[in-house]
Symmetry: C2
């Protein structure tokens, strides 16, 4: 398993003189936070690279693509560890959030930083001599900057000042999702595969825009499933309503509601009382948000397919279509 190889090398990194205690801490922290996700982002690098190459990959090429995939998983772990602290969350991937684990506490903030710092260590070890090394560093830096900026927007919109639903509009929603989620989850894996294939990312702005659109669509699904999905299938019980999340559903609800419905939403959104949650859900049903979502899903799909088919290059089209078909009408 490549994860174990990467971890073992990080724990022997000559740039730091580990104590046994320190090595054990990092070992446990990595096992707790890095694997255990759906690995979608990581797998996308390999799948995209295969489609772009058009031929079978050598063992070495597969290894390098996997290493980049794992870098994205490390990036994700870094964002999640810190996001859970800032959101004061309780569970993640079916276990306690790392900062809530006994004797961890706010050391978790520095662990997030360590996770982030592992990425350039991995990149340097395996890609230092590649012609695209500097582009890889620039790519990870730019995408991290965008994600942190999206996170800032999310935080100042959600937490700063009083709870005020009128701030949750479609342009605000789209901007948060685009930066906070879409760049690193959808653009980054494909961009890694493009760099490995020797491409110049400046020539793939359209591809980037389509992937960011797809990432937005993915997050809308996530928000929909949080309320209307099957908890068995998604593996958790949604809490967006009580958490006062800027969810696509509440944005649509506020956009479609009449004054009395808006009042009910305002009075009940963001409260953990189950009667309040039920009132919000009943407004969602009265406004037929399930159908609004199905319509949005159909339109997004059609627009994405037509954008993809407008691109030059069959290989790139295939990459994007396979990505889209993995997520279209997903139930989890």
């Amino acid at each position: 398993e490549i994860y174990f190889r990467l971890k073992a090398e990080l724990l022997q990194d000559p740039a730091f003189d580990f104590t046994d205690e320190g090595r054990q801490w990092i070992d446990r922290m990595l096992d707790y936070n890095v694997p255990g996700g759906k690995l979608n982002r990581g797998i996308s690098v390999i799948d995209s690279y295969k489609l772009l190459k058009g031929t079978e990959l050598s063992d070495d090429q597969v290894f390098l693509a996997c290493a980049l995939g794992w870098c994205i998983e490390w990036l994700q772990a870094y964002f999640l560890v810190l996001d859970d602290i800032m959101d004061n969350s309780h569970t993640r991937r079916g276990q306690l959030c790392w900062f809530r684990v006994d004797k961890v506490g706010l050391i978790a903030a520095n662990d997030g930083i360590i996770l982030r710092n592992h990425i350039p260590r991995i990149l340097k070890r395996y890609f230092r001599e590649k012609p695209y090394y500097v582009n890889l560093l620039d790519l990870f830096n730019e995408v991290e900057f965008q994600t942190a900026s999206g996170q800032m927007l999310d935080l100042i919109t959600t937490y700063q000042g009083e709870q005020d639903l009128s701030k949750y509009t479609m342009p605000v929603y789209r901007r948060i999702v685009q930066y906070k989620t879409a760049y690193y989850s959808f653009y980054l894996p494909v961009a890694c595969a493009l760099l490995m294939s020797g491409e110049n990312l400046d020539h793939f702005i359209d591809v980037k825009n389509i992937l960011v659109e797809m990432g937005t669509y993915f997050q809308v699904q996530d928000d929909y499933l949080d309320c209307f999905g099957d908890p068995e299938a998604i593996g958790k019980i949604g809490t967006d309503i009580e958490d006062f999340k800027c969810s696509w559903l509440v944005v649509q609800a506020m956009a479609h509601a009449n004054e009395s419905q808006k009042k009910i939403l305002t009075e009940n959104y963001g409260k953990s009382d189950s009667a309040c949650i039920a009132k919000v859900k009943s407004i969602y049903k009265d406004l037929n948000l399930q159908n609004v979502f199905f319509e949005y899903e159909r339109m997004s799909y059609e627009q994405l397919i037509s954008s993809i088919e407008g691109l030059p290059g069959k290989a790139v089209q295939e990459v994007l279509k396979s990505f889209l078909h993995k997520i279209y009408k997903r139930q989890k």
Copy 2:
């Protein structure tokens, strides 16, 4: 003022679609956290670069050296914002810690991340076409990794499990200080100047080791002044004793104390009660730690000078000596 130019450019960064609110947030966050330090680290880049070049610098060269100096100040701000959260500190540089400012709270953790992400934005804007660009990225990445690793050691030594003074030994102390402080405060500025001068850092391992030694000496002074310095001169009242810090003083005290003195230290160190603090200080005096420090200071100075004079290259020697003379016998 170069800081204002860098800030203005970051607030117009085309990689992120700022809202007015978001721009104001970052503007205020930067002004609160980035300037206002002693700027030692930033100034060191320019001073070192001048000495290495041996000739007057062009306006452009001065600007670039300043930009790198500010990158180090940004890095410092990032570490301090997060460190204050993790240490649950109250004040920093004579003002409230950023996370304690009204309506900031844990958004500060993401602000720390944003500060960190500004560095590659500045580097890309001004250094992308320089032959040493990739080395600059590698350097900042490696030094950040070492600092975060040192911070981890500090955190798991200080916070994990019960307060136990017997963990505070000289090797533990040296390792924490070397990684947490010396690399970024002492090695990084000189390494930046070396890269700008076209040098290969692999040929300056001895210089690195001397600077890390100097950084350790600097931190020992810092720990000494926290207890024995003039609060007027250093601009704050030390709190290392009540904070259960792994300070050079307590490490020396534990190394020199007899059993009954150890017992008193163990019972009183890390308590905010002023009677406890007084008991610790009186043991420091009984053990004559001021003289132990003066002796350490003299020996460090002599060893550093002799290491410096053993180096090839007069310009490098001058850089290190000027650095050393800035800190030798400092009172603040």
